[in-house]
């Protein structure tokens, strides 16, 4: 009887003993999580960083916490689980340390090294802006966006030694991570904005920096400018209030942010004068010369440019010209 009871007890207890052993991490050499985590993980120079003490083992309980930044005690941060500081200059390595004075005696020190790196994502949309315009082109639906990422840790980091993973709206492009691929081009997707993110790692897989930017998508905009034979285009657009001198006017239609490919080869480029389709009589489809006729001093001029393949790649605008 005693033997039977013992056997039944062994059968019941043995599996649970095995299961308990499976979760005893210390037998497999894993130490409990006690570490400093940084947010953001890879800060830029001058960026505000939050350092948190993560303790999943309860080992901090009752300990006195002292924080150090670059070897100096951070005043007012004693016994705080979280501190904030500003990352240093590019190319500098700075230690953030937390020293735990354990209630059982002894100390434990945790450390993270901050190596700030600039990660600049330069967006170069391939859309039309006039040569005199000092601003940058903006992306419109379907147009190509050239993107370059520059890493700088005090000097430009050679992209040959970096692996880049690009995502557009959270979808990896270029088929996956690419070494030396600090430059990509992709078409502007639908929507009001596109999110471009890039992660840069060293060849061993250690993250150097990671960033995402949101890029607003615009519709092409049409403006009219007066073009002088000698001086070229005026720097201010013509409006209904613009005084015009003389009886002859050369108008230049400027479709800002139109896909450069559509601008160079538009399917539709049509001028209308007082609602009548008109041949502009010029090899330049964006230019028309008007002459005022006596008795009719106000003229309504309309210009329409569009791609028939990408219907949102286009713009149409009218203006009343008062000679």
């Amino acid at each position: 009887m005693r033997l039977r009871v013992l056997l039944i007890a062994l059968i019941i207890l043995f599996p649970s003993a095995v299961v308990t052993a499976q979760f005893d991490a210390s037998q497999f050499g894993q130490t409990p999580q006690l570490a400093i985590t940084l947010n953001p993980n890879n800060p830029s120079p001058g960026e505000l960083v939050t350092a948190s003490l993560d303790d999943y083992s309860g080992g901090v309980y009752g300990s006195e916490i002292t924080w150090f930044y670059d070897g100096q005690v951070i005043s007012g941060a004693t016994n705080q689980r979280q501190i904030q500081f500003v990352a240093g200059d590019a190319g500098t390595d700075t230690a953030v340390e937390a020293t735990l004075s354990l209630p059982t005696g002894g100390t434990q020190t945790l450390q993270e090294i901050i190596s700030p790196v600039y990660m600049d994502i330069i967006i170069e949309p391939q859309t039309r802006v006039p040569d005199w315009y000092a601003g940058r082109a903006l992306p419109s639906l379907g147009s190509q966006i050239n993107t370059t990422v520059l890493l700088n840790d005090g000097s430009f980091i050679d992209p040959q030694n970096v692996v880049y993973t690009w995502r557009v709206n959270n979808k990896v492009i270029e088929g996956g991570p690419i070494r030396a691929g600090n430059r990509v081009a992709f078409p502007t997707p639908r929507g009001g904005a596109v999110t471009v993110s890039v992660t840069a790692t060293d060849p061993a897989g250690e993250t150097i920096a990671s960033r995402a930017v949101s890029v607003g998508i615009v519709l092409p905009e049409l403006s009219f400018y007066e073009k002088h034979t000698l001086y070229g285009m005026k720097s201010s657009p013509i409006t209904a209030n613009t005084p015009l001198v003389g009886s002859i006017l050369t108008l230049q239609a400027e479709p800002f942010f139109l896909d450069s490919r559509v601008y160079n080869n538009p399917d539709v480029a049509e001028w209308e004068i007082n609602s009548v389709s008109t041949d502009n009589g010029s090899s330049n489809p964006y230019e028309i010369t008007l002459r005022s006729s006596s008795g009719n001093r106000s003229t309504n001029v309309n210009f329409h440019v569009r791609s028939l393949q990408q219907i949102l790649q286009g713009s149409e605008e009218s203006i009343a010209i008062n000679f």
Partner: protein, 404 residues
Amino acid sequence: MKRTLFIIGGVGIICILAGVWAYFLFFGTPNPDGGVFANFNLGNTDDPSVIIPIEPEPTQPVVDVTSPERLRQLTTQPVAGFAEVQATADSAPEARYIEAGTGHIYSIDLETGVETRISATTIPLTNAGALTPNGQYALLQSGSGIGSEHVIGIISTTSDELRNFAIPGNITSFAATDDNTFMYATPAGNGLIARAYDPNTNTVEDLFQVPFRDATIAWGSSEAGPHYVYPHTTSRLEGYVYSYTNGVATRERASGYGLSVVGSSAGYIFSAVQDGEYNTFATNIATSEINNAPLTTIPEKCIFTESNAGVAVCAITLEEYPNQMPDPWYKGEVRMNDSLWEYSINSQSASLLISPENVTGRQLNIVRPEFGINDFNLYFQNKVDQTLWIYEYKQAPTFNRVNQ
């Protein structure tokens, strides 16, 4: 009516006419200013009901370069480029400019105000240019975009002919240095390469490389720099600032939407949209401090002085700037009414130099400010009509001003 009344009235009229005729016959004398019959010698009138026609103001403002005012308009025609030139150490400085459209080069004697055309060689569609401070060379841009051409002109002292030759390749930006050379940027691969051309020796030297194409270069006054480089500005995309000194690039601690910058060896002024507002900041390189500037401006409207790298003169419009800036200003949709302010990035103080509207009655939208020799004169253009203006920043004791 009776017939008698008609006869009496007719005789009366005949008598009056005969009296007038007799008066002019005996007393009227020919008036050289007008016809005799237009002058009845009735005397001057102060009758307020009399409407005296007012001659319309000329559409082109009258230019008087020798005016005692410190702010003066130098040209009535659009200008493509300009510089203050001193041919020799003993000669008086003169203002030179390149006429837009023709490429003709003019010289203005700042003492007498006499304007001389020193180059009559026409380079059609000239819209940008630079002149060396010794007055010997010019770099002119003709046309725009892919079809633009750039020529080096050698200014003759004996004739009004400009010997010129084209620089091959596409040039996106250029400037002259204090050392009488030209710096320019040209596309190379996916970026730009900045070069220096010495017209004296006809040699080209690489200065630095920019790893992207859509770059604006705020050129320094020497080949060594610092030159400040940033992606073309827009309020819809983020920009970053890089400085190049002796060919070495440094990422500056400035970034943001709508970012543009102007700088010197002591620091730089940048504007960007932060927290939804377009604001101006100044970085002092020596202290690494970044401060909010006391006034908001578009950095392209500022220039640092040569004599004090911590002091800049900025054209400032005292209005709240929309957070879409500077895009609408680039497009020409926003006009400004600028005043000139002196701004020290060391003391973070700004003081008003002059308000063109108060002095001249005209509103100026100031662009391309440039100092002359020893910072005596500040030159700039009005964006609206591209005319050239001068402001006497320092009183120059060596100048003998006329009409003073």
